[in-house]
Symmetry: C2
Subunit: 406 residues, 2 copies
């Protein structure tokens, strides 16, 4: 078999499930498009004589049974997409895994350990306000109580949608103990590999992040009748905060990032000095201590500037995710495979986005690899990766699976 | 008669027209509340033996005829309010004028020149998107063609509303030539008098202003996967613009002001580097050359920062009003009256807000005086001025009218 042809045929086939030209793929959890993709995948596994394993919530895998069927190398990603997403985010990880498995099966026959391709039911949080439903169920750490309250944007209850789709809550609390390694290949969703012209990113960890919402209260005043010296202007204070923290983050350097993505002025009227502002801060780093230090800088800077400007500041930390480090042995194995397959054209890097792997790495030795994203674009119909890079990714994954399973 | 009692009775009476506790006064052009106020004012004029003059659009005045009836000293303000406005903006100017006239009539009898109290139909632009409908009609400089297209927020056409209310376009283009002076007393709508503990503001001019809308285009990127060095972050560029221009304006000093009142990020999502921003700039100064210089600084600063950050900037100047200076003789007359009545406790100042007087000053010698606004609040049910200050204002107005008309 030819890796490129096999992958392209699979990709073309699966991109139809939820695909809606020219608006990308919408394949939300427990919808008919999503179920059609699952069913097609099961059929694909069966046609290739793989053992099919399903759980109650919709995770499904195809296993090439090894000599020692008690040990499994698991590889995959999520099958759901965002609304109007691309054809690579999640789907590539599943189809690349299947292609690599078929390639290994044809060329090397039965492995020592099982190789199993896993499609996770949900990761994006795009239909219901909850993410990692697939991987959390895999390890039985989901919160079923919260789920019962959730509805989608059309008012459909999570549990109703799940049951109508033929799925249900887990009945047992058994967690598999055969998984010796988890691998996930994913598009980078950033521009680092592209800008540095590398073909593979060997992920050493997934950044931790903190998200704040900040409110500053001053005084709404008439833009004409209030001299500059009499103002308590929150947008001016905000701009000072942004300038200071942006400069500070750049001084500290990569991989620290800070983003002010959401801003709301009140009353938001041309001729009124804004008496109130609300804004978001998203900051990320792979090193927990560095992230904590910088978050203290953030809080101190806001409070200092608020005091200087006689404003009232309210800082709310509403998300606080710790960094996740990949398993050192798996990193090395992926790195050796990358060296060989790409003639050294790879880069060790951190993932700035969250992935199912951050759940897996809490329980089993885990590793992750990236292929470049053209223009860094994802979650969008324009999400694309050069086919040469997609194939290289599958080759590195196959090499890694070979080292781990044969 | 007692100035305080007379004014308070009038104010209590007229605050009922459109008054809706606890939400302030809503008295929009050509509504029943507005017409009730006009009718009550005509009745008030008649009961006090004043000659009533009405025009076709709804401006109405009461005249105390002087020995020389070809010369008129006109004093007044607008009778309309904003939505949920206060009881002083506009209304105080009319009722203070009427109180002053009645005081002069009782104490000094017939003046040499006519003294005429004018209630202008509309100034706020709160029902239809057009302002100064009253004063512009007074001088026949309104644009009747634009009016025909206007509707209010409920879809009612301007002309239909006008006609249903019993009013209509001007039929003649005769402009009165008897006006020898125009006076307007108004609340300051700022905090300068309050903070400097002055009772009267002698207005020397009304600031000119420019309003820009600015758009910056960069790149929307993932907040996690895009290192700081790879970003084209428009909110960071915006914050640099705000910091530079705010500092520069403070260096130049009063009465220059700059306000960034309205900001919109696109896509405005916590985990996306904002690829686009739109914001407003409102800048004002009494000196036309200074205002023009600073607007060049604004444009240059935006363009420089856009280039440094590799952003595309679009700067649109959509309002450009020249400053208006008051008549020197009238300023002096008001100043002398203020000196006498307040024992020197007044301040020469510019008006940072627009007023009907900026229309009048283009045609007749004009002057304006302010009373303090508590906390600078206006356009709000909490708009208030100490009764002592309101009375002082009427006394200064009466003294000025006496000097001009007797």
């Amino acid at each position: 078999m030819d890796i490129r042809t096999t992958f392209q045929q699979l990709d073309e086939k699966f991109s139809r499930f939820g695909g809606l030209e020219p608006r990308g793929i919408t394949r939300l959890l427990y919808t008919s498009e999503w179920r059609a993709a699952i069913n097609a995948l099961v059929e694909e596994f069966e046609n290739n004589d793989l053992e099919v394993i399903k759980d109650s919530v919709g995770n499904v895998s195809g296993r090439l049974v090894g000599e020692n069927s008690n040990e499994t190398i698991l590889t995959g990603s999520h099958i759901d997409t965002v609304v109007q997403g691309g054809h690579l985010d999640g789907q590539y990880g599943i189809l690349a895994s299947l292609t690599a498995l078929l390639y290994l099966k044809e060329n090397y026959g039965q492995p020592k350990k099982n190789i199993e391709v896993l499609a996770l039911a949900e990761e994006e949080g795009s239909r219901f306000p909850i993410a990692f439903w697939g991987s959390k169920n895999f390890f039985n750490i989901q919160d079923n109580e919260i789920i019962k309250e959730l509805t989608d944007s059309e008012g459909v209850n999570f549990v109703d949608a799940m049951r109508e789709s033929g799925f249900d809550f887990r009945e047992d609390d058994k967690v598999r103990d055969d998984i010796k390694a988890w691998l996930e290949i994913h598009i980078e969703q950033g521009q680092i590999l592209e800008k540095e012209q590398k073909q593979i990113g060997v992920v050493t960890g997934i950044v931790g992040f903190k998200r704040y919402s900040v409110q500053l209260k001053g005084e709404a005043n008439h833009a004409g009748t209030t001299p500059m010296g009499y103002r308590k202007d929150t947008v001016v204070a905000f701009s000072e905060i942004v300038q200071k923290l942006d400069k500070k983050a750049k001084e500290i350097g990569d991989p620290l990032v800070i983003t002010f993505g959401k801003v709301k002025l009140i009353p938001n009227v041309t001729n009124v000095v804004p008496g109130e502002i609300e804004f978001s801060i998203d900051t990320r780093h792979i090193d927990e201590a560095e992230l904590n230090d910088f978050s203290k800088t953030i809080e101190n800077t806001i409070n200092e500037i608020a005091i200087q400007n006689e404003l009232e500041a309210t800082i709310t930390l509403h998300l606080d995710e710790k960094p996740t480090l990949m398993n050192e042995d798996i990193i090395k194995t992926i790195e050796e495979s990358s060296k060989k397959v790409t003639s050294n054209n790879y880069k060790r890097m951190v993932s700035g986005a969250g992935h199912d792997t951050q759940i897996f790495s809490q329980f089993v030795p885990s590793g992750m690899l990236f292929v470049p994203s053209i223009g860094g674009i994802s979650h969008n119909v324009e999400e694309e990766t050069d086919i040469e890079d997609l194939v290289k990714g599958i080759e590195v994954l196959a090499e890694t699976l070979y080292k781990l399973a044969y």
